[in-house]
């Protein structure tokens, strides 16, 4: 794809003005880093607050007589039980039980189900949802909205100045509110492992909101490079790398997103395979977190057992700036997937020691309300 074919978010000019290095990502020209570079941006987000433009992601509303029940036919999540003000991580499944995309579904207001999906998958996702739910629910793409993520331990204090109601939200809660003088859909979530928010606003307001947040000295713009190292340290899978249409939620270590009621009912796409894998039958591989010794093991690096036999592959990996060493996610046979399992990764033809560890590499710091 030539640069001329790349789409731009409403913040394209703002990124250039902030000194961004732009790269193609999900069909968009996106900032991979700003002047400070990936390492400093990563550490800033863990210590203060990082502002990310994630407007390439797909936003949509699903409406109808019962959009929640309708959406359940495509996913293994409990959406009929999703209460107003709550958000849920889920995924679209194909009939073979593979993950078509992972997503967030939420109820910020009374206007049906609000969806946020991956940018690279959005056209396919929305076409699939519209087709499968034709006549049952109506999907409206919200291409006229921007999406910002404000992440880090100081995110809450920063956003409270502009949107006091955001302070009342706990992790995975959401609300529609007037903030920055516009209608905003705010959820307390993100993909860095830190406390923080995702803020959906009209595209026409994106620059003003971006500038208002950056006017706070606790906030710096953060590029996709640090977004990737932050989510990797948080142990969070990236669709298209750690998950694809062949990967089941059990293989992908996403069983937490398989609702108990839906498991008992077995009424989601690919249930036959997924329920069998949950019962320990036919599970081919499992996603693990690996602590790597030596050079970082990147996507595509082979994983071997202690005898040197190749048993799996790294699906994303790199250096974890807060962890202080190389970290990776990859797939191995279940028998080698237990925490403490000793493996090897092959980097530039040479084996290096690797060990299965409990994810995340850096503890999550989500804001949960005390019971």
């Amino acid at each position: 794809m030539s640069d001329a074919d790349l789409k731009q978010t409403p913040l394209y000019e703002a990124h250039l003005a902030a000194g961004a290095r732009m790269v193609p990502f999900a069909g968009y020209s996106m900032p991979v880093q700003y002047k400070d570079g990936v390492l400093k941006e990563h550490l800033w987000t863990r210590e203060h607050a990082g502002l990310f433009d994630v407007s390439h992601m797909g936003q949509a509303r699903l409406r109808g007589a019962d959009p929640f029940a309708a959406f359940e036919t495509l996913t293994p999540g409990d959406f009929t039980g999703l209460k107003p003000g709550k958000q849920r991580y889920s995924m679209l499944l194909n009939d073979a039980g593979g993950v078509v995309d992972d997503l967030m579904g939420s109820r910020p207001d009374d206007d049906g189900l609000f969806l946020v999906v991956n940018g690279a998958c959005k056209d396919g996702d929305f076409a699939l949802i519209a087709e499968k739910l034709d006549g049952v629910a109506e999907l409206e793409r919200l291409d006229d909205r921007a999406l910002l993520a404000l992440q880090g331990p100081e995110a809450a204090a920063v956003l409270a100045k502009h949107a006091p109601a955001a302070a009342d939200l706990a992790f995975m809660e959401t609300a529609a509110m007037t903030a920055f003088g516009v209608d905003a859909l705010v959820s307390r979530s993100g993909y860095t492992g830190e406390d923080g928010y995702e803020i959906s606003i009209p595209a026409s307001a994106a620059v003003a909101v971006w500038d208002a947040l950056l006017a706070d000295e606790r906030v710096k713009p953060i590029g996709l490079g640090a977004r990737d190292s932050l989510r990797l340290e948080a142990g969070l899978p990236l669709y298209g790398h750690d998950l694809d249409e062949t990967t089941s939620p059990v293989e992908g270590d996403l069983t937490f997103a398989l609702s108990k009621r839906r498991r008992e009912a077995g009424d989601f796409p690919g249930a036959l395979r997924i329920l069998a894998e949950l019962a320990g039958e036919g599970l081919q591989r499992k996603r693990v977190a690996l602590k790597v010794s030596g050079a970082p093991a990147r996507e595509g690096a082979e994983i071997a057992d202690e005898s040197g036999a190749v048993v799996g592959v790294v699906t994303s990996g790199g250096f974890g700036p807060s962890f202080g060493g190389p970290v990776a996610l990859g797939f191995v046979p279940q028998a080698l997937s237990a925490v403490g399992a000793r493996l090897q990764v092959i980097v530039r033809g040479r084996p290096q020691a690797a060990e299965v560890v409990a994810a995340p590499f850096v503890p999550h710091r989500y804001f949960r309300k005390k019971a």
Binding site: V38, L39, G318, F319
Partner: protein, 124 residues
């Protein structure tokens, strides 16, 4: 030690007698971003011009450093193992990767001088 010579792959070479010290330029270090891992060659290894000599890794990616000239590795900067950030801090001094005993010093003289390298950077 002679003035630095440069390659289009953004390596620099400093020749002292028949020993060439090799590193990457400030431009390359800036493009790579923060270096988090460096792999230097074993002393005694023989390389031809264009062979992989070292590997530098930033947070995002791994990049090969090629031997600008042929020769035998007589020293490697193993201190970069503990302090890879030196490559960003002083790329054209303490951030060197290896010293080669060069077979043909004329190979070094044939590389770009700083003025020619600066002109080359303007074309990128």
């Amino acid at each position: 030690m002679s003035e630095l010579r440069f390659t289009k792959d953004h390596e620099w070479v400093a020749l002292d007698g028949d020993v060439a010290t090799i590193g990457i330029t400030a431009y390359a270090a800036d493009q790579l971003g923060d270096v988090v891992f460096v792999e230097v060659p074993e002393v005694g290894k023989t390389v031809k011009a264009g062979d992989g000599l070292a590997v530098v890794e930033s947070v995002k990616a791994a990049s090969d450093v090629y031997a600008p000239v042929g020769g035998e590795v007589v020293a490697a900067n193993t201190e970069l193992g503990d302090s890879p950030e030196t490559v960003n801090a002083v790329p054209e001094a303490g951030g060197w990767f290896a010293k080669l005993k060069v077979a043909d010093p004329a190979e070094v003289a044939a590389l770009m001088d700083r003025a020619a390298y600066e002109d080359f950077l303007q074309t990128l």
